[in-house]
């Protein structure tokens, strides 16, 4: 266990300059630092584990992206052109699973690992060994998941929501492996979340109260609580599936007195908080970037915290809005419709605060700011289509159409993914000591924005016109919209190669960044040198709370 206050060194923290390649001696063990692959397998350093998480999620982002492009290539023209429908179903399912569990969630955990200790002035995470374990579970989980594609009968083909009985009675034999891999990924998320909660609650710099914490820390604290609350429910659901498939129980099998609708209730009881797990840290990132580049303090800090907490609480009360068409009683339909619409209130508070922060700011448009601004605009579009979907009678039309696909891709791609990219551009100077290339970054940004909108905006129209989700072929009247979507998808996909180029270039060299890499940046991470040395804040920093 890491002590709350490490032994006092006479050094001032900011004078500990970077020593190359992890030569700094670890307080906790007296063995020589392992080298090569063993260094990464055994590392307990929050920065190295953070980097591992981020690299892993980038690789998975590309694998999930390739699956998406297979889907879009098939949908480029009407007719069954390239792949058979069974494989198409596996691609849509794997795309969803990989993007949710292996790309977006680990990326946020990676950012949390890197930045939370730096932002609260802690020397490391509270449980460094557990941290190592939770990362290394991920490659195991997702190698297993990807390997199901090569198994007889193919990989999961029932959609990322794995509704029973599609995922039990009618599932391919590889489903047991899918369940195991999701269990492992879930354990990883839970351990990561416990670690983050323990770090934030116990390791803040002396004098930093809860309401002094940067919003990224706040949003992650709330996200971690959500993870601890709902990942066990997911574990429960997939355990029930496992027993239905292999041990003759009937949780979801009507033949034995079970109920398939119960599956949907349990899944979405996990699933709706899960979608906020994928967006709350994004709110924290944007709330760090916008004040920096508007050179103003964040407007309404306290209301941001309360809005985040209210969104988290409400997320437990809205799950059945995914199930309006299963035949809910009228009272339940109304309840879930109203609670869902209520979520627009705290979300609106956040958007209002970001815009008010921009108001009369001295704004500059560096790449992180561009991504953050695109986030605010495009996430809000996704929020509006969410409001439309929340209206139960309208949802009867939209349900399971491309309108839903457009909605959740707007909140997840230019929402969660853009915020992760913004965070990477924002903190790369701290991680590498170099600024990322502005020119390449701007190319990446503009091609991504155009690509995302070309891909997902037409889906609103094809959805309203009645194109169903998860089909490999479609009626001719949807051909034009799908052509545009596919072209946009390829543009977006290939422009991500620029992102990789920017990162590699930035790691290797570039304009040197000072400790405070951005003019208006305020938080504690900018008080340590760039690149951040392997060990920081071994002496707690001198934290002066600012008046929010």
């Amino acid at each position: 266990m890491a002590p709350k206050l490490p032994p006092h060194h006479s050094l001032q923290h900011s004078s500990t300059t970077a020593t190359a390649g992890g030569q700094v001696h670890d307080d906790h063990d007296h063995h020589p630092q392992p080298r090569g692959i063993m260094r990464w397998l055994l590392t307990t350093n929050h920065k190295e584990i953070g980097s591992l998480y981020l690299i892993f999620s980038l690789i998975m982002f590309f694998i999930g992206g390739i699956f998406a492009l297979v889907v879009r290539a098939e949908l480029f023209q009407p007719g069954l052109n390239l792949i058979n429908p069974e494989f198409f179903n596996q691609m849509t399912t794997m795309h969803g699973l990989i993007m949710v569990f292996a790309a977006v969630m680990p990326a946020f955990t990676g950012l949390a690992n890197w930045m939370i200790p730096l932002q609260i002035g802690a020397p490391d995470m509270a449980l460094p060994r557990l941290n190592n374990f939770s990362f290394w579970l991920l490659p195991v989980a997702f190698t297993l998941l990807l390997s199901t594609l090569l198994m007889p009968g193919g990989g999961p083909n029932f959609g990322w929501t794995f509704y029973a009985p599609l995922s039990t009675t009618y599932a391919p034999p590889s489903t047991t492996f899918f369940i195991l891999s999701l269990h492992i990924a879930g354990v990883s998320s839970i351990l990561g979340a416990i670690n983050i909660v323990a770090t934030i609650l116990n390791m803040r710099a002396p004098g930093m109260r809860m309401m002094d914490m940067p919003l990224f820390v706040w949003t992650w604290l709330i996200t971690a609580f959500l993870l601890i609350a709902v990942m066990p429910v997911l574990a429960g659901v997939i355990t029930m599936m496992l027993m239905d498939i292999n041990f003759g129980t009937s949780f979801f099998d009507a033949a034995g007195g079970g109920d398939p609708v119960l599956f949907q209730h349990l899944f979405w009881f996990f699933g709706h908080p899960e979608v906020y797990i994928m967006i709350l840290p994004a709110f924290g990132i944007v709330s760090a970037i916008i004040p920096t580049f508007a050179r103003k303090r964040l407007f309404g800090y306290a209301s941001m915290v309360y809005a985040t907490a209210s969104i988290a609480v409400l997320s437990f009360l809205v799950w059945a809005h995914h199930m309006f068409v299963v035949g809910l009683p009228l009272a339940a339909t109304l309840f879930f419709m109203y609670t869902t619409m209520l979520i627009a209130v705290p979300t609106g508070v956040k958007v209002f605060n970001w815009i008010t922060t921009l108001f009369r700011g001295s704004i500059t448009f560096e790449v992180p700011m561009l991504f953050a601004l695109a986030f605010v605009v495009l996430f809000t579009i996704g929020g509006f289509s969410g409001l439309m979907l929340a209206i139960a009678p309208a949802d009867f039309q939209y349900h399971d159409t491309y309108f839903v696909v457009a909605h959740f891709h707007y909140v997840l791609v230019p929402g969660a993914v853009f915020s992760i990219m913004a965070a990477v551009y924002y903190w790369l100077p701290k991680w590498t000591g170099h600024y990322p290339s502005e020119i390449l970054g701007k190319w990446h940004f503009w091609l991504s924005v155009i690509g995302v909108n070309l891909t997902f905006f037409p889906m609103h129209f094809s959805g309203l016109a009645g194109m169903p989700r998860r089909i490999p072929d479609y009626a001719l009247q949807f051909a034009d919209f799908n052509l545009v979507s596919s072209l946009g998808a390829f543009l977006f996909g290939f422009s991500q190669l620029i992102f990789v180029w920017v990162i590699i270039k930035c790691v290797r060299g570039g304009v040197k960044a000072p400790a405070k890499a951005w003019d208006g940046a305020e938080d504690l991470e900018w008080s340590v040198p760039s690149p951040a040395p392997l060990h920081t804040f071994e002496t707690p920093p001198d934290f002066k709370p600012v008046q929010h």
């Binding site: 709350k4 009675t169 323990a198 116990n202 033949a255 109920d259 349990l266 035949g327 809910l328 009683p329």
Partner: protein, 189 residues
């Protein structure tokens, strides 16, 4: 004595275990909830007494019967009339017939469901074949009655009530059943 980090971890793990247990507790809770509120078309699986009340002759309700065979039970469930028109408050008897088409004795059960689900609270079954499991010899045909009543307080906007009976094999017999049915059985009824 635990240090603060251990205390946080301990509490988190407690929440974790509680939520895992909660997921499993939701299974019976959901069942109870559906039964009490009548949502999801679940009906009481015990005999209820008739409510003696005057028959409301001012309105008719159409009652439809749908019978289905689930997977793995080569039985047929017939009903003498697919549709009847009844007054609320009026007791009605309908005969159903089970036929075992396979060459061996099997146990099965008809699982009921009512649509629209809000009607299930106003449906009283005095006698139903669905209360018990049935065991039929090879090729046997058995007639069984359903006696039901729709109470007078059935909401005015409900004009049609559909009762669905789905045949399922009984769990204990499953293994034995699959072994017997596999070669040259009558197939799905």
């Amino acid at each position: 004595m635990m240090n603060p980090v251990q205390r946080t971890v301990f509490r988190s793990v407690l929440v974790l275990i509680a939520m895992f247990a909660f997921a499993f507790a939701l299974v019976p809770l959901y069942d109870v909830f559906c039964r009490i509120t009548g949502v999801n078309g679940k009906v009481d699986e015990r005999a209820q007494t008739l409510v003696s009340e005057e028959v409301d002759e001012s309105r008719y309700v159409t009652v439809q019967f749908i019978t289905r065979s689930g997977s793995g039970l080569p039985w047929i469930l017939d009903v003498e009339q697919r549709q009847v028109r009844v007054h609320p408050g009026q007791p009605t008897e309908i005969n159903f017939a089970f036929t075992n088409q396979s060459g061996s004795a099997l146990s099965g059960r008809a699982v009921p469901s009512v649509s629209p689900s809000q009607a299930s609270r106003y449906l009283r079954k005095v006698n139903c074949f669905c209360f018990d499991e049935q065991r039929l010899e090879a090729g046997e045909r058995v007639e069984m009655p359903l006696v039901f009543q729709l109470t007078r307080d059935l909401p005015k906007d409900v004009n049609t009530v559909t009762m669905v009976y789905t045949l399922y094999p009984v769990a204990e017999e499953k293994a034995q059943l699959q072994a017997q049915v596999a070669p040259g059985s009558g197939g799905d009824a």
